[in-house]
């Protein structure tokens, strides 16, 4: 140990600069990367979901307006939507047992849609293109800018119904929160009459 001071100049020179993290502890202020509080306006609900984890899915019940923690997501019918970064899965097809289907609707905003469409219904399917990722029914929810790598919600909303007949209309409002964190998925939904 007594030789350490004499080694210090060598250490200074050979890759022993202070670790940059020492002077920059994680932000001590409250972070906004938590799932936000549910906002209810009549029957319409708004929620920002933290889907930033790379390998963790977050499960949402549209009827309860809350995140849930299913023990076995493939068999559990407590959730409608699952989110992991830009991936949105529904509890149907290869993703779950609730027989959730979605249908894209263009030309309507959320308030303007009053009935489920007659056709266009689909659910999550097994990987068809060999990339190891299922063909998600909500896979076309965003537009991708290859120059800026920014994801922007596509100009469409979705009708969503489960196997029991409960239906919702769903709008994906955004992918970034106010401080620019990606995968903070803004959702807005309301009940829809059964199809």
């Amino acid at each position: 140990m007594r030789h350490l001071p004499s080694l210090a100049p060598l250490c200074l020179c050979l890759g022993c600069a202070p670790d940059l993290r020492e002077d920059r502890p994680a932000d001590s202020l409250p972070q906004d990367t938590d799932t936000g509080g549910l906002i209810t306006d009549g029957e319409t609900r708004t929620l920002t979901v933290n889907a930033t984890a790379v390998d963790v899915w977050v499960y949402l019940s549209l009827s309860d307006g809350a995140l849930v923690s299913p023990a076995d997501p493939l068999q559990d019918d407590s959730w409608h939507l699952a989110l992991q970064r830009y991936n949105l899965a529904v509890n149907g097809g290869v993703s779950g047992a609730r027989e959730v289907e979605v249908a894209p609707v263009e030309g309507h905003d959320l308030d303007g849609l009053t009935a489920a469409p007659a056709d266009g219904w689909r659910t999550d399917l097994a990987d068809a293109d060999g990339d190891g990722v299922p063909e998600y029914a909500l896979g076309d929810w965003y537009e991708y800018d290859a120059t800026t790598h920014v994801l922007t919600p596509a100009d469409r909303i979705y009708a969503l119904c489960d196997g029991a007949g409960a239906c919702f209309k769903l709008s994906i409002e955004g992918y970034y929160d106010e401080v620019g964190t990606p995968a903070m998925v803004g959702l807005r939904w309301a009940p829809l009459p059964p199809r």
């Binding site: 890759g15 940059l20 970064r85 401080v179 964190t181």
Partner: protein
């Protein structure tokens, strides 16, 4: 006049193959090493060598290599978030080899070695050889070689101090001491540099160039252990911290901090083997470490910390042997090992080993006055892609005492970087993936250079050079899988592109009176990406420089103006927000530097300067530093005559 081979060898012994001595006052007599790997008078070099001397460096007011090369004819210094990158003859920065005393340097990011990190206080001269240098230097010397020759003592004792202060927190200080004896000589140089960076788009939080603080210490010495054996050693240490701000596409404000450390050590024993041969050995090592920290404001989701480290070890042996009066043969061998540790590499590490043999003969053709033919070749074996031969032939003919003609043809190549071979990167937000390819082949080039230098009298010097470079197997990022519904894009590196660059370089230098120096240059650069059927990005077709220096010796006053006129540059950008790059054209610009200096009776000088007086630059297409006014003071001891 060409020198006979034994005399050349004598020069080589005097100067060393790793270091050229101080330049002679006579044009063309300065010693250069980069053209042939042996010390040669510049005028006798078989390929043209552009030389920036210590005096040129002092007169330019530059503090680092980026500032110094920015005004040099035929060179294109492009600034970006990667730092200041060098293009030459239309070739990419990673196709230009940068050396310090003949040794490679580490720390390229996306192929860019930031010229801003090389302070000029320890540089004796900069040698620039355009065209492929792979026959002597191996990988990465496709477009040319820039060799920084560090300072060597040339006086028994000398101490110098340099101070500079300017706008935007610019502060530079350096000092050097040197001593030269019969058997021992050495020099120590230290510098401190800092700058607040700059922001060309103050409407957002992002900065254009990072603030930095840097210190560096370098030293070298040589001991003549016996009349036939000397041992040289050199070392340098550098630390550089950078702070910048970036705004992501999604609007996140990110503080970016970097801490760079670099250490270089080298030994060069030199052994005279009789009167006509010399053996130079070299052993060197360097370490480069860069910590990068990203701190998202108001959140931690985008916070990252990465620690990148590179290590390089090189061994070399070079034998120079003069045969008769007509041959100077150089043969050599090199071995090199490089490792990189980076969280961005698949598996976290990369390693490569490389060995090479090279040979070159400077043959002064008997019976043809002034004609030298210089064949050379290098055979390099790399652990990633195997054998690469790179031949070269250069011919120099002094057709008349005032006229020198040069022709050279050669092959060059660039090794795929660790990033291109091993990258594994997934964007956490957008999900796109970029991956390297271990099966990449090297990029290759074939080049032809024709040049002429004409000095009709003592007042004028003219030169013209025509070049053509054919580039094949260029490595580019291609879309392996386009983004589709729910599936992000995948990008990868492939050998797909081919291209060519061609052009004309003209230079005229004149000293019409004793107190006035003029230099004009023009470079025409044509280029074509044969894959995309469009000009290569960022290359200005027309580029001109003008330099005027006035030296009123009796008053101790000197003034210098350096101007660059750069034509429109083809670029790409997404102008219609459809996510697809569109061709755009960056407008022409002019840059002007002025400097006024008063000498202090041989004790140094004070100077007032303005860089980029016209304030050229914009946030997206030309991110050069805005106008900078500075004041500098140089002191030297003992008193230097004429300084």
């Amino acid at each position: 006049m060409p020198l006979p081979a034994p005399l050349l060898l004598g020069l080589l012994v005097a100067a060393g193959s790793a270091h050229a001595g101080p330049g002679d006052d006579e044009p063309g007599a300065e010693l250069v090493v980069t053209a042939t790997r042996t010390a040669t008078p510049r005028g006798d070099a078989p390929v043209a060598v552009e030389l920036i001397t210590r005096e040129d460096i002092a007169a330019s007011g530059a503090e680092n290599l980026a500032d110094l090369l920015e005004g040099q004819p035929g060179l294109d210094v492009e600034r970006s978030y990667l730092g200041a990158a060098l293009r030459m003859q239309g070739m990419n920065p990673d196709q230009v080899l940068i050396l310090v005393d003949g040794e490679r340097v580490l720390g390229a990011k996306d192929g860019v070695i930031d010229l801003g990190r090389f302070p000029v206080e320890n540089i004796q001269q900069v040698e620039i050889v355009k065209g492929p240098g792979s026959a002597l230097y191996g990988a990465d010397a496709m477009g040319g070689v820039v060799n920084l020759i560090t300072r060597t003592p040339d006086e028994p004792v000398r101490a110098e101090v340099h101070l500079r202060g300017g706008e935007r927190g610019t502060a530079d200080a350096s000092a050097s001491v040197e001593a030269k004896g019969d058997r021992l000589s050495g020099q120590l140089v230290a510098g401190l540099h800092q700058n607040d960076g700059y922001d060309l788009s103050p409407q957002d939080e992002a900065t254009t160039a990072s603030a930095f603080q840097q210190w560096d210490v370098s030293g070298q010495g040589r001991a003549a252990i016996s009349p036939n054996f000397s041992l040289g050693a050199r070392g340098s240490v550098m630390r550089r911290n950078l702070q910048g701000v970036e705004v992501s596409g999604g609007g996140a404000v990110l503080d970016r901090l970097s801490a760079i450390e670099e250490v270089q050590l080298g030994l060069t024993p030199r052994l005279l083997l009789g009167a006509r041969s010399m053996l130079t050995l070299g052993a060197s090592g360097s370490v480069y470490r860069e910590q990068q920290l990203v701190d998202q404001r108001g959140a931690t989701a985008l916070d990252t910390y990465e620690d990148h480290q590179e290590r390089l070890g090189e061994l070399s042996a070079q034998l120079d042997r003069a045969t008769g009066d007509s041959h100077l043969l150089t043969v050599g061998a090199e071995a090199m090992g490089v490792t990189m540790e980076s969280p961005r590499l698949d598996g976290g590490t990369g390693a490569r080993a490389r060995g090479a043999l090279f040979v070159q003969d400077v043959w002064r053709v008997p019976g043809v006055s002034g004609l030298s033919v210089v064949p050379g070749a290098r055979l390099e074996l790399d652990s990633w892609y195997g054998l690469v031969p790179t031949p070269k032939l250069a011919i120099r003919w002094q057709a008349a005492p005032s006229l020198t003609l040069r022709v050279s043809a050669g092959a060059g190549y660039r090794a795929p970087s660790f990033k291109e071979l091993l990258l594994r990167f997934e964007n956490p937000g957008a999900g796109y993936v970029v991956q390297g390819s271990p099966t990449l082949r090297p990029e290759t080039s074939r080049s032809l250079q024709l040049g002429a230098e004409w000095a009709p009298n003592d007042a004028w010097w003219l030169s013209a050079n025509v070049f053509h470079n054919d580039l094949n197997d260029l490595i580019t990022i291609t879309t392996l899988k386009a983004a589709s519904a729910g599936e992000p894009a995948q990008y990868g590196y492939t050998n797909v592109a081919s291209a060519w660059t061609a052009g004309l370089e003209l230079a005229a230098q004149s000293q019409p009176t004793r107190w006035l120096d003029l230099k004009l240059t023009y470079t025409l650069t044509e280029s074509r990406d044969e894959t995309l059927h469009q000009p290569l990005e960022g290359r200005a077709r027309h580029r001109g420089t003008a330099q005027a220096g006035i030296d009123l010796d009796q008053l101790g006053l000197s003034a210098q103006a350096r101007a660059a006129l750069v034509g429109a540059r083809p670029l790409t950008g997404d102008t219609d927000a459809d996510g697809v790059p569109d061709p755009i054209e960056a407008p022409p610009y002019a840059a002007l530097d002025l400097r006024l200096q008063k000498r202090l009776l041989g004790r140094g000088a004070v100077a007032l300067g303005v860089d980029n007086l016209l304030n050229a630059g914009d946030p997206t297409l030309l991110t050069m530093p805005p106008r900078l006014v500075y004041l500098s003071l140089d002191l030297t001891h003992p008193r230097r005559d004429g300084a």
